[in-house]
Amino acid sequence: MTVKSATPLFEGHDWDFGLIQRIYDAVEQVAVGEMGLDTYPNQIEVITAEQMLDAYSSTGMPLFYKHWSFGKQFLSNEMLYRKGVRGLAYELVINSDPCISYIMEENSVTMQTIVIAHAAFGHNHFFKNNYAFKQWTDAEGILDYLEFAKRYIADCEERYGHDRVEHLLDAAHALMHQGIHRYPRVRARDLKAEAAREAERHAYQERIYDDLWRTLPRGKAEAVVPADERARALQLPQENILYFLEKFGPRLEPWQREILRIIRLIAQYFYPQRQTKLMNEGAATWTHYTILTKLHERGQLTDGAFLEFLQSHTNVVHQPTFDSGHYGGINPYALGFGMMRDIERICVAPTEEDSVWFPDIAGSGDPVGVLKDIWANYRDESFVAQFLSPRLIREWRLFKLDDQQQAPKLRVDAIHDERGYREIRRALMRHYDIGWQEPTIQIVDVDLAGDRRLMLEHDVNDGVLLAAADAERVLQHLANLWGYEVCLTEKDRETGKELKQHRAQPFAAGLE
């Protein structure tokens, strides 16, 4: 422990802008100077509780297009907040360049310190360095793109009517999770270029428009294309349904395609956040914990402030046990933080067991370097698969339950013992594998010669079908977008047996 030399940054509760700046400098000193975190430039915005509620209902973004579903979210958040059922988050952070963190004016100065360490350095470093974010998101362009999206959708509302745009957005939102490229075969997005691309396309169309073309006699119908050629032309099978509709939807107007594209790109932007929830929160929590501890050791944080910090930190990383009645799934803050601490321990003071399980990092003596490498190169699924240690499994007393459809009872399959570690780790990894948790749905064929029916397949895992009521509704939306009949078949992954089929016809008016 270093000698307490520095004077405390603050005492008491209240903060002002000068103090925020001094705190930021002190935190930066530790985060960048000592830990070597690599962040986007920071922009810290002070907001009120009401503004926080606003931000909540537009998925945290400072600007977003308008849709009733955000109003619904706002109303329900407001209700929970006003009734005191739920407090507001202390912060919100946006993956953009510069990285914007919101802090609430109600927070005490200790809270602001935590928030700055957590969001402006923890999350920020993660956003900038993690491979999933690097591959899929364009932090520099996102705010400009949202601005473009907002304006474009508002323009469409004026030009084509609120109802048509609303119906289109309803449908697109329903298919949002099926609007993601999961494999990086397409180059990284340059969102800034999007607005320019749309403007250019528009100008080109205006330039080449010639009414004469309309008067040309129509040629003969094209010959039927063989299935494999069709599949190649339509890029089938295709799991990105929104992409497919945007490119090949026969009855969509150009502005509808553009809006589908907007929704798709926004979904893509958020995809890494869903893939790395556990790690992202774990990294940020570990960062704020480490930084605040250091500040306290140096005497820059008073004992009182440090206790206040410990209290809220403990609340954040609390994990109720499965039978406590408060259990609502595994708390990503708790598990993430637990694993980061565990990795730190393995680097510094490994046991014999650790040396067997983690030969690469055990005793390396450089926890920050190891963690930074992990933050850059893993996502939740691979992170758990690699780094969940037997010791943590014992500490958490994790166990695995098997729920077989045929069996009358649940079976305890593995517990925290020598035989169980790997099984638990494998099962928990599955739990964080989005590709496993979300249904795999692909467009497999289109009957172009016949009635233009769109055929989709759901690869059924472990016999878990789609939630039927929702599937019917989403399919209805899809049929309205496609303009012809849509058919979704659920097939078992192993046996290939057809389990269920959903069909939907477009409404006569389509999207009108």
Partner: protein, 438 residues
């Protein structure tokens, strides 16, 4: 690093989305508002409040794996006694764990707060009020500003140009400021004299006089400015205070067994609307609830609407009670009195003469407005059918003589028929507001 203070940014960013949601779920919210009226007091009708609608109507579907069926694995923390191979009973509700498991349809109710304006808007919409009346009821304070003369200081925006220019002109006239034409005349004369060639005798003296005169004019023009700060006048505005006045509203209702819930509900809406209207016109509104069977008593609102009495029906007892209360507590000189009566029309025939006498001679002379609402069953045909005969009380009240607009009677079967009762009340602007009754 920048710290930016966003607290002063305009709020209400979610307002548009909120309105869109309400528009989308309009039918559902409307029904919820209608239902929630039961839980609201008459005075509390225009307050923000919580409503509940079915979640299904505003559901956003996604493709996701079902919460039931199939083979699943859960990893849970906090094992105490299990060893591998143990068999456990299934918990009662679906899966016991992993966050992905219980992602079913959630609650089937959606609760949220409606603001005062939103609630009122929906409530009035439900009664099918015309827009004009609705605006008058939902609008902000009626207190306004009106023009009231001029003042010597103020903001540039309220500068009165005609008045300032007029002042300037009279000042210029009073101080005899030489006009531009006068100056021009002198200049011309000087030029004329100067131009004479050869000069006439006496020209030099004339020229000197003229020049002197011109200098004098120029000096006066610069001393007495064309427009001066003392000329400026600003429009003055005065705030018009709401007439300080108070009103009392008597709610009279027959609570005998023949009054159904539907009838009482209609009556409640009627009373609520009247209260809303009065509270717009008066600063302070008292409400007195009198229920009656064959005898009347003053009760609180809950008892008024939700307790049932048995007995005959003597309408005069309620009127008696009202008169008694007016005498005791509400001097007609100090209070604007409104009487609203709701009944299904039953009355003991021999009580009718006394009822008419009370209403006509004792009540109508001292009240601003009295309304009688005859509530009927919902399925009743429109009143005044060929066969349906008028009720006892209706027949009696028809004979009541009152100044136009003072007494209104109406039969109502459906809530949309309530508003017409008020039509005259709304049309007469500022009805019966007596100044000075404080």
């Amino acid at each position: 690093m920048h710290v930016i203070d966003r607290r002063l940014n305009p709020g209400g960013k979610s307002l548009v989305n909120r309105q869109r949601f309400l528009r989308r779920a309009r039918a559902l919210v409307q029904r919820a508002v209608r239902d929630s009226l039961k839980d609201r007091s008459i005075k509390g009708i225009d307050q923000e409040g919580e409503v509940t609608i079915v979640r299904d109507g505003v559901h956003e579907p996604t493709l996701h794996r079902s919460g039931q069926g199939g083979n699943r694995e859960y990893v849970l923390p906090g094992n105490r006694e299990y060893v591998s191979g143990d068999q456990i009973d299934r918990p009662q509700q679906g899966g016991g764990g992993g966050s992905s498991a219980g992602d079913g349809d959630g609650e089937d109710e959606f609760r949220f707060m409606l603001s005062r304006e939103e609630f009122l808007e929906l409530f009035l919409d439900d009664l099918e009020l015309p827009d004009l009346a609705k605006r008058r009821l939902t609008g902000g304070e009626i207190e306004g500003v009106r023009r009231a003369g001029f003042k010597t200081s103020g903001s540039p925006a309220s500068l009165s140009i005609p008045r300032s220019m007029r002042n300037a002109m009279s000042r210029r006239l009073a101080l005899r400021r030489p006009s531009r034409a006068e100056l021009q005349r002198l200049e011309d004369e000087i030029a004329l004299v100067e131009a004479r060639n050869p000069p006439e005798p006496g020209d030099a003296a004339l020229l000197e006089r003229l020049r002197e005169e011109r200098d004098h004019v120029v000096r006066r023009r610069s001393l007495i400015s064309y427009i001066d700060p003392i000329d400026l006048r600003y429009r003055r505005y005065e705030e018009v205070p709401k007439p300080v006045a108070q009103a009392v509203m008597f709610c009279l209702m027959d609570v005998s067994g023949s009054m159904t819930e539907h009838m009482k509900d209609l009556a409640k809406r009627f009373f609520a609307l009247l209260h809303l209207f009065l509270s717009r016109s008066y600063r302070h509104v008292d409400v007195v609830f009198i229920r009656h069977t064959d005898r009347a008593e003053e009760v609180d609102e809950d008892t008024f609407f939700y307790s049932r009495e048995t007995g005959g029906t003597l309408v005069s007892s309620a009127l008696d009670k009202a008169v008694e209360i007016i005498r005791a507590r509400y001097r007609p000189d100090d209070w604007n009195i409104y009487v609203a009566q709701a009944s299904d029309g039953d009355n003991l025939t021999q009580d009718n003469p006394r009822t008419i006498a009370l209403l006509q001679d004792q009540i109508l002379p001292i009240v601003q407005y009295a309304a009688y609402l005859e509530v009927g069953r919902e399925e009743d045909p429109m009143a005044g059918g060929t066969i349906a005969s008028d009720s006892d009380l209706w027949q009696a009240y028809v004979t009541v003589q009152a100044p136009k607009g003072r007494f209104v009677m109406r039969k109502v079967h459906h809530r949309r028929e309530i508003y017409p009762v008020f039509r005259e009340l709304f049309q007469r602007r500022g009805v019966g507001v007596r100044g000075g009754a404080a």
